[in-house]
């Protein structure tokens, strides 16, 4: 939960007001396009890189001679610590087990199949990955898609249509919102992560029926995410599943950020929170974050998957997933499960858990306001004030740490934040350096909203903090 001090809220509102007034004044002199898409902070977003998004990468320096309205690439790069890419298990760069096999599959199957899955686009690799993904997640069957975004937007219309009800969490991702809107069903929102409010909404909706006609709903689907990418917190899955079972609603779990990254053996929030995968009707996930590839999957019962294979437009009309990417996922899952003959997978999982917990506790001790639950590799640091966003971002980059800053409209207006994504490939020295830089920049920019714990207690727990 965000605890926003009153003074901070007032000063942030005042800053936005000042920005707005300044913008209006500038209006007299020249046209400016959109306040929150202010081009002057353009250099904080879309920074190109020139190497793999591993724990250290090369950020390309950009220059501008018209106040950041347009940016040109230079040939200089600076080696920075990567705290922004979704590389939870460290598969982003070339890996000793995965890359040779990927290159082999590239030579065998070529970069693309140039056809849709139902025509000539299904190779043995696709069938193998569908089986493996189903086994990994703990469901009877699975189906693959070439892009995570399309998975959500094309599946939800196949499962529910007019006359159905979708109840989705208020902070769900844009792909889920698009899919829900495209399906034609009625959409209702429940308060973020609140099973009590979900129950209220369910009772009200079942008793009331469809709007205007009051006919009973055809079916109800509740959509939640495993880890919310802007909050870093885990979903209250056991309680939500209990509520859904009581009211006979179907559940759809989007594990884009949590599959492979949390859980004892990497199987996601179900494993972490002790929920049986058979209780969740549809489990969706992407391969972009923890497996270092691209694409998404849906895992459910055999009947649902058969139905989707017949009717889902993304399966019938879209080019199938690129075979080397499929091979990368197969190899990554094998490493995680330990089927490659080593225990690198278990090591990675242990390391990401240790890293996340260490980093989060250290940041909290320094006095930053950090959101998110324990064990979650995503941690937002609250900035609030709009002026601090580019300040934090640029200063960190100058000190060779690359962070991601997010503001309105991806987050509520007053709650701008910097989001850190920890990876299993970060070593303890990397994290210590990052903490050092963030602490210094935090002092400069003034975002330590809470009192820091005295250093004596900190030293007792972690003796490498010099």
């Amino acid at each position: 939960m965000v605890r926003l001090p009153y003074t901070t809220a007032l000063t942030t509102l005042f800053s936005y007001g000042l920005l707005f007034a300044f913008g209006q004044l500038r209006d007299f002199f020249r046209k400016f396009i959109d306040l929150f898409k202010a081009k002057n902070v353009k250099d904080c977003f879309g920074r190109p890189i020139a190497s793999a998004p591993d724990s250290w990468f090369d950020v390309v320096e950009r220059t501008s001679n018209d106040n950041n309205k347009t940016l040109q690439r230079t040939s200089n790069t600076s080696r920075c610590l990567n705290l922004g890419s979704y590389n939870y298990l460290g598969f982003a760069a070339a890996d000793e087990y995965c890359t040779p096999r990927v290159i082999e599959s590239l030579k065998k199957y070529s970069a693309s199949t140039c056809s849709v899955r139902v025509d000539g686009g299904t190779t043995k690799l696709h069938a193998e990955l569908e089986d493996l993904a189903a086994r990994f997640v703990g469901k009877p069957a699975a189906i693959l898609f070439g892009m995570g975004y399309v998975t959500n937007s094309a599946i939800i219309p196949c499962l529910i249509g007019k006359g159905g009800l979708i109840i989705s969490d208020s902070l769900n991702h844009n792909s889920i919102v698009n899919g829900a809107r495209g399906s034609g069903a009625t959409v209702r929102v429940f308060q973020h992560n609140s099973p009590a409010h979900l129950e209220e909404v369910l009772r009200e909706q079942i008793a009331g029926g469809q709007p205007r006609t009051h006919r009973p709903w055809k079916k109800i689907i509740v959509i939640v995410e495993g880890i919310y990418s802007m909050e870093g917190e885990l979903c209250k899955l056991p309680e939500i599943i209990a509520v859904c079972k009581k009211y006979k609603a179907y559940t759809y779990l989007d594990e884009a950020h949590s599959i492979g990254a949390v859980g004892q053996s990497g199987r996601g929030v179900c494993e972490l929170l002790g929920v049986d995968p058979a209780d969740v009707d549809i489990m969706m996930g992407t391969f972009t974050k923890s497996f270092g590839s691209c694409g998404g999957y849906i895992a459910a019962s055999k009947e649902i998957i058969q139905h989707l294979k017949h009717s889902c437009p993304a399966h019938l009309y879209a080019t199938s997933m690129s075979p080397p990417a499929v091979q990368q996922v197969i190899s990554a899952i094998k490493v995680i499960l330990g089927e490659d003959g080593s225990n690198r997978g278990a090591q990675k999982l242990a390391r990401i858990r240790e890293n996340s917990n260490f980093f989060r506790s250290e940041l909290k001790k320094m006095g930053f306001e950090v959101l998110g639950d324990n064990d979650s590799p995503v941690m937002p640091i609250m900035l609030y004030n709009p002026a601090k966003i580019p300040a934090f971002s640029r200063e960190c980059l100058r000190q060779k740490v690359a962070v991601v800053t997010v503001a309105f409209p991806a987050t509520p207006l007053l709650l701008a934040r910097a989001r850190i994504c920890i990876s299993a490939s970060h070593s303890r020295e990397d994290l210590v350096k990052a903490l050092d830089v963030i602490s210094r920049v935090g002092d400069l920019v003034g975002i330590k909203y809470f009192p820091a714990e005295p250093p004596k207690i900190a030293e007792a727990g972690h003796d490498k903090l010099e």
Partner: protein, 485 residues
């Protein structure tokens, strides 16, 4: 007039008597120094009546909200439908499985076949140079890009690819998307909002339909590839409609329609667009790298300057033998999408090896324009050989690399048609080792064009491949369709 006068007189008399009665000092009482006149009594009575009514309890039908127990009962009684409908008996479920690259010859289910099911128009699957550039990319960048474009997911190969494509087409800039179909259904909602008018061809494929639906604009469909229908629709929408002048208007067409193989006549569309002042969104997935003297697409084919088309989108999963898509246009068109296109902002970027494959593919096309000539001669040969197939006719354009065969006479039910076509495809594969496919339709697709057999011709096919296909197809369709004709 003579009716009015007595009425007026009577009314006046009544009024005079009433006012006299009112103003007569009635009770001769003086209360607090105020004479009690007659009208005061009537007014006092009225006030007493009003006060009396106000003090009565009003009758509203009782609004009883449902009690907790009633809600519990309703929730217990409610039964949802199953999440998916049961699968129909006899529905064909198995898809053929490839065991090698999807080039002109491939291995399906253990057997070597001639492949007419992959949209590998320039024969770039298996090309050495492209594979080498991909290997280099994989070793340098890994497989995935691990982030959206705004958050360190922009790799220098993406920027190179965008510049290369823009250079190739002659536009100022272009933007890369990470998946073919997400391109068009992100571009349309980024530009068309509620209240705009879109005129679209009725044969556009599902991704375009989804984009039109998500945009919440008013969509009007015109008859498939019929310019007269388009002209009359545009006329109807703009004639005398003052409001139409102020809202944004778009025409959405595909260059080569996936559902029928027809080619849109771009020169006429541009003329109509300029006459009625609409903007054109052109979906070029199957014509990029295929049409035109050097493969630059439909605009080059018709000799239309590229600036006249406002937005061009294309998926790269066809001629360029890679994945992803791009959109190009003027600088403002491209810049706008970098912040408002949901498929670009909220999704991870294209894997870098696919972007370098795209760059190599475009380089190859620039260096070897003769590959287009081989493609064109293959298509022409196929048209010639299949022109006398019993029971099937070619309904696609002579230059389209998608050769669309539909039944000369439909049986009347789409399910039976599909059954016949699939039987033909299965037998051709089993008996003559030629891999062909029928066009598939999802139940969410609202396009009503007839289904058929789709043949994807590639520059890598040889003449013998084409003759194998045509002889096999003629033989099998003669036997399967003999009961019907």
């Amino acid at each position: 007039m003579d009716m009015a006068l007595p009425v007026v007189n009577a009314t006046a008399a009544v009024l005079a008597r009433v006012s006299a009665a009112f103003n007569a000092p009635l009770a001769r009482a003086v209360v607090f120094g105020v004479h009690i006149d007659g009208h005061l009594v009537v007014e006092g009575l009225l006030i007493a009546v009003i006060v009396f009514q106000l003090t009565r309890k009003s009758y509203k039908p009782p609004k009883k909200p449902l009690s907790e127990k009633e809600i519990d009962e309703l929730c217990d009684e409610w039964e949802p439908e199953p999440l998916c409908p049961p699968i129909k008996e006899g529905a064909r479920i198995d898809t053929p499985m490839l065991e090698s690259a999807a080039g002109p010859h491939t291995i399906v289910d253990g057997k070597e076949v001639v492949n007419f099911a992959s949209a590998n128009y320039l024969g770039l699957i298996g090309n050495e140079k492209i594979i080498d550039s991909c290997v280099g990319s994989l070793e340098k960048y890994g497989v995935g890009s691990c982030g959206p474009r705004g958050f360190y997911g922009t790799i220098d190969v993406h920027l190179d690819c965008e510049a290369k494509i823009a250079n190739f087409l002659g536009t100022p800039d272009s933007i890369l998307y990470s998946y073919g179909i997400s391109t068009i259904f992100s571009v349309i909602p980024a530009f068309c909002k509620k209240g705009d008018i879109i005129v679209a061809d009725e044969g556009v494929h599902w991704a375009v339909q989804n984009g039109l639906h998500l945009s919440r604009s008013t969509v009007v469909y015109f008859k498939h590839n019929d310019m007269a229908s388009l002209a009359s629709t545009l006329e109807k929408l703009t004639r005398g409609n003052k409001r139409a002048e102020k809202i944004r208007r778009y025409i959405v067409v595909e260059s080569i329609y996936q559902n029928s193989g027809q080619i849109a006549p771009l020169d006429e569309i541009v003329k109509l667009k300029e006459k009625y002042r609409f903007r054109v969104i052109l979906e070029e997935s199957h014509s990029f790298g295929v049409l035109g003297k050097s493969g630059r697409g439909l605009a080059e084919h018709y000799g239309v300057p590229i600036e006249k088309i406002d937005i061009i989108t294309a998926g790269m999963g066809n001629a360029l033998a890679t994945d992803g898509g791009f959109c190009t246009g003027s600088v403002r068109v491209v810049d706008h999408q970098r912040l408002s296109s949901s498929g670009y902002v909220f999704s991870a970027s294209l894997p870098p090896y696919l972007a370098s494959a795209a760059v190599s593919a475009v380089n190859y096309l620039e260096e070897n324009p003769s590959v287009l000539a081989s493609l064109r001669s293959n298509i022409a040969l196929l048209h010639q050989e299949l022109s006398d197939t019993p029971g099937l006719e070619i309904s696609s354009h002579v230059l389209s690399p998608i050769v669309f065969l539909k039944l000369k006479k439909s049986t009347g039910s789409p399910a039976t048609d599909l059954d016949l076509l699939e039987t033909i495809a299965e037998r051709v594969l089993k008996e003559d080792s030629v891999f062909i496919v029928t066009s598939k339709k999802s139940n969410l697709d609202r396009c009503k064009l007839p289904i058929g057999i789709r043949l994807f011709v590639s520059a890598g096919h040889t003449e013998s491949d084409i003759s194998t296909l045509s002889s096999s197809l003629k033989r099998v369709s003669a036997s399967v369709l003999s009961d019907y004709f």
